[in-house]
Every structure is written in C-alpha cells, then in structure tokens.
C-alpha cells in the first residue's frame, strides 16, 4: 500500500525532534560520565572513576532508598485506594461516577509545583493550616513539624504525591471495570456472593493487567519525580527526602561536577529502563 520511503517520510519530523532533544543528549550524558569535570569544563578522561564513586556515596544510596520507599508507598496507598474506589463507584449511577471521577481526578490536573506550594503551606509548622486545624479541634498534641521532621518528611511528602495520583488510578480502573463482562457479576449475585467476595474473586483478578500498567507507571514516576521535592524540602531536612533527581540536580547545577552528575543520570536511566523492560515482558507474557 505504502512504501518504506513513505513510512520514513512520515516518521522523519517526529524522529528528528526526538533524536535531537532526547536521544542525542542521552548519548552525550553517557559520554560525559566517562570524563572528569571542573566547574563545567572537561579536564580529562576518567574511565569508570565516576561510577566507582557511586559505591561510597552515602547520599546516592540514601536517595535510591527513598525512591524505592516511594515506589512501595505509591503501590500500597494510591493504587489500592484507586482500585477500591473504582470498584465501589462502578456500581453507582452514571451521574455519581461522572462527578466523583472528576473530583478525584482534579488534583492530577494541578502542576506538581503548585501542589507542592499548597501542601508546603498546609504542613508549615507555625503558619500551617494542618497544625492550626488540629489545635482548633483540641488535638494540638498531634501537631507536628511534618516536612521539617526527619522521621515524617518522606511520608508527609508522599501524601501529596498520592493526592495527585489516586484519582488517576480511579479513572483508569473504572474504565477497565466497565469493560468486564457484566454477566460475571450477575452470576455471582444469583449465587448470593458478598461484595468483598466479588471484589476479590472477579474484579481484582480481571484487572491484573491494569494493575501491572499502573504499577509500572507509578514506579517510573517514583524514580523520576523532582518538582514536588524541589519546591518543598530540596531533599531535606538533612537527607530525609533526597531522591535521585535532586541529587543529580545538586551535583550538576550547584556543585558543577558534570561527570558525576552524568554518572548518576546514567544509573537513573538504567534503573528506569530495566523496570520498564521487566514490566513490558510481563505484560507481553499475558
């Protein structure tokens, strides 16, 4: 029908743009990582030195750990919440589905930077609304420093991440549930099955593919998120909310060690590509 030449012509504009601003820079970053740099100027070939440094860099390991915790927290909270909410919502009227679906999704439309600013204010230890509200209802004892406390910072930040993400999960799960054959639920109803049984034995198994997709999506986002941390804690207090991207940013922009920043970027890329390849083969295998 069409020739290979036509196919390449159709691909060309997209490929050029993608190549120039994504593929080439990725190649450059890999190349950068093999050189030593001083204040933005390459001073010589460094072999694997930048990668060897990773092993002894406690901040890198702490950051990686926080990314992993973020993945787990995201899988546990917004994903589960999304599944349960979608399963409940699916049985309601079309109007309810439309309205609640929209309400849950609204935070996802808010730029993460703005979400960070809003929640940063809510969490503020002295001017914040959360502590104010707790004190107003007589629970002042529960008031805390939230983002300012090493022990609660990452969790508090994750609540913000979940806020912007759970509605997305609801919407995706809803679309998937609505494509499940209704006769399955009808048959279960005739057998007198309880809601939680239908949920566990019909909804959850049939949505495994969607769960895998959302899990992949959440894991990738958890590895590469930046905006939210940068506008709230910049990785602090101490290293409590340091993640790979903030470590890259600081090493690159603030310290000016382009080689080590590039090595960190390469590791980040490798992790993300590995996760995707694994998840992709799982999806394919189904």
């Amino acid at each position: 029908m069409f020739t290979t030449r036509v196919a390449y012509l159709f691909l060309l504009p997209a490929l050029l743009l993608y190549g120039a601003f994504v593929l080439v820079p990725v190649g450059q970053v890999v190349a950068f990582s093999f050189f030593a740099w001083d204040n933005g100027v390459a001073t010589g070939f460094a072999g694997l030195d930048n990668f060897v440094r990773l092993a002894g860099d406690d901040v890198f390991w702490a950051a990686l750990g926080h990314n992993v915790i973020w993945v787990v927290l995201t899988l546990v909270f917004p994903l589960t919440a999304g599944l349960v909410l979608a399963a409940i919502l699916a049985e309601r009227s079309a109007r309810t589905i439309r309205w609640l679906g929209a309400i849950y999704f609204i935070p996802r439309t808010i730029p993460l930077v703005v979400a960070g600013i809003i929640w940063g204010w809510i969490y503020n230890p002295i001017f914040g609304l959360l502590n104010y509200a707790l004190e107003a209802v007589g629970l002042g004892g529960l008031a805390g420093a939230w983002l300012a406390d090493q022990d609660s910072a990452l969790i508090s930040l994750n609540v913000v991440g979940a806020w912007t993400f759970f509605g997305f999960c609801v919407v995706i799960y809803l679309a998937a549930i609505q494509s499940i054959d209704p006769s399955l639920y009808e048959a279960a109803d005739i057998d007198g099955a309880k809601w939680r049984h239908k949920f566990r034995h019909i909804t959850v198994p049939l949505l495994r593919g969607t769960t895998l997709f959302l899990g992949l999506y959440a894991s990738i986002e958890a590895m590469r998120f930046f905006d939210l941390v940068w506008v709230t804690t910049q990785g602090g207090p101490g290293y409590a909310t340091e993640v790979l991207t903030t470590h890259v940013y600081k090493t690159f922009f603030l310290v000016g060690d382009f080689g080590y920043a590039a090595a960190l970027s390469v590791v980040l890329l490798a992790i993300v590509l590995t996760i995707s390849a694994l998840a992709f083969s799982l999806l394919r295998a189904r």
């Binding site: 691909l11 601003f21 593929l23 970053v29 730029p111 809510i122 679309a175 930046f226």
Partner: protein
C-alpha cells in the same frame, strides 16, 4: 445488597472526595482573604470577598505575563505534536517497513527517560544553538520529551482505522499524504482531541525545563513564576494562593469540560 456495606462504601467515597477537594478549597479561601484577615481564622469563610490578592499578583506580580507565556509555550508544544506525532503513529500502525519494530522500541524507551537525567547535556546543546533564555528553547525539547507518549498513543488510535478505507483512497490515486489527511485524520479526530488536551496539560505542568532554560522573568511560565513567589513575597499566603489558583484553574476548567476526551487519552494503552 444490604444497607450497611453501602453506607460504609459511601463514607469511603466521601472521605476521598474531601481529601481531593479540601486543599483546593483552602486555597480558594486564602486567595480571597485580605492579608490582615488571614491568620484570624484560616478555616472560616472570608467575608467580604477580597479580589485584591488576584489583582496584586496579576498586575504587580507579573502573572498576566506568566499566564500568556504558559499559553504560548503549551499551545506551541501542542501544535508541534499534532503536526508530527499522528504521521508517525500512522506509519507505525498502518505501514510495513524495514526496522519498524526496532524504531518503535526506540520511541517506547523514550517514554520513561527522566527529564533531569538529560538536562545535563541538553542545557549545553541549547546554549550552543543560542536557544537559552528563549521560549523556543523550552518548546522544542518539551515537544521532544512528550513525543514518545504521543506517538505511542497515536499508533493505538490509528490501528482502529479500517484498512479498506485507506486502500480505497490509495486506489483512487491519492498520494500518501493526502490519503492520510482525507481518511485517517477525520476518523482519528477524537483521538487527536485527546492527544491535544493531554499534551497541553503536561506542557502546562512542566517546571524543570523552563526553570533552567529561561532566565528573563518576562519569558517564564506560571509554574516557575509561582515557585519564585515563595521567596519573593515572604509570607503573603493570600498572594501565593491567588497565584496558585491562576496557575491551575485553567487546567481544572479545561478538564471538567473535556473530561471524556481526557479520560480516553489517559487510558489509551492502559486498558488493553
């Protein structure tokens, strides 16, 4: 179904609705409150409603400019994507050619590339091309970063076009580009609409790229402007809330009006 679980379920739905909306409600309240009133009782309804926060950030804070910049950047990115991604998606969906699978895999891999990891090299390249501190220096890389997702989505959309229609148009002697325009584009229109909305949304939300590329205040989009406010206005929470509202209200409105298109786009590929 008995009533008790239904009440519990409704309660769960309601709790999450509060979780989703409460922060937004608080921002709306704070934005309409005068500075003096702000700490007297942050949770009470502000009265009388006070538009001065909006006027202050819109005029003095430069948010009218940031707003226009966001509009320029996001619209340009959307147009570029609409001009390129559907063609590529069509090629991947409907044409058999050498290296199709490897090329598609190359695009797929790009979907997960973290922006902070390419910025290290991207910045130097933009500087070399003289694109630093120019909006085009944000627009082109942003379109490129959104390209893999867009091509992937367009491939899914184009796969649904019946082969017979394309064949018929080719039989009639139309050249390939015209048959793409005449046959594929009309059928894919809802998909194109979804793509445009999502690209616009993602582009509007972008922070890191404009943060590092744009230095002149008059060129910056809303996200960067809002983040800068934190330092500049000190504890002017009314102003910060108004600025935040200006930054996200257009997206919320757009979403509420185009919900169906949004959801179709976001779930493309997820529910298969």
């Amino acid at each position: 179904m008995n009533r008790r679980p239904r009440i519990v379920q409704s309660a769960i739905l309601a709790v999450f609705a509060v979780y989703a909306l409460a922060p937004i409600y608080l921002v709306v309240l704070a934005s309409m409150r005068s500075e003096a009133d702000l700490f007297s009782g942050p949770l009470a309804l502000p009265w009388p409603l006070d538009p001065t926060n909006f006027l202050r950030v819109w005029i003095e804070g430069g948010f009218s400019g940031f707003f226009v910049n966001s509009l320029i950047i996001s619209s340009s990115v959307t147009v570029i994507i609409l001009l390129t991604a559907p063609l590529a998606g069509f090629a991947f969906a409907k044409i058999r050619f050498a290296w199709r699978e490897p090329l598609f895999a190359l695009f797929l891999a790009g979907m997960v590339v973290p922006a902070p990891s390419v910025i290290v090299a991207l910045y130097g390249n933009l500087q070399a091309f003289g694109l630093i501190d120019r909006q085009i220096g944000v627009i082109l890389p942003q379109a490129a970063i959104l390209m893999p997702f867009s091509v992937f989505m367009m491939r899914t959309v184009m796969q649904d076009i019946p082969d017979e229609l394309i064949e018929a148009s080719v039989m009639d002697g139309a050249n390939p580009f015209l048959s793409f325009l005449a046959v594929a584009v009309p059928i894919a229109r809802p998909g194109l609409m979804s793509l445009a909305l999502i690209v616009f949304l993602f582009s509007w939300q972008e922070y890191l790229l404009p943060l590092v590329v744009l230095q002149t205040d008059a060129l910056k989009p809303l996200t960067v402007g809002a983040a800068n406010l934190q330092g500049r206005y000190g504890i002017d929470y009314g102003g910060i809330a108004a600025a935040g509202l200006i930054a996200f209200a257009p997206l919320v409105v757009l979403f509420l009006f185009m919900q169906r298109s949004f959801v179709r786009g976001l779930s493309a590929g997820a529910v298969k």
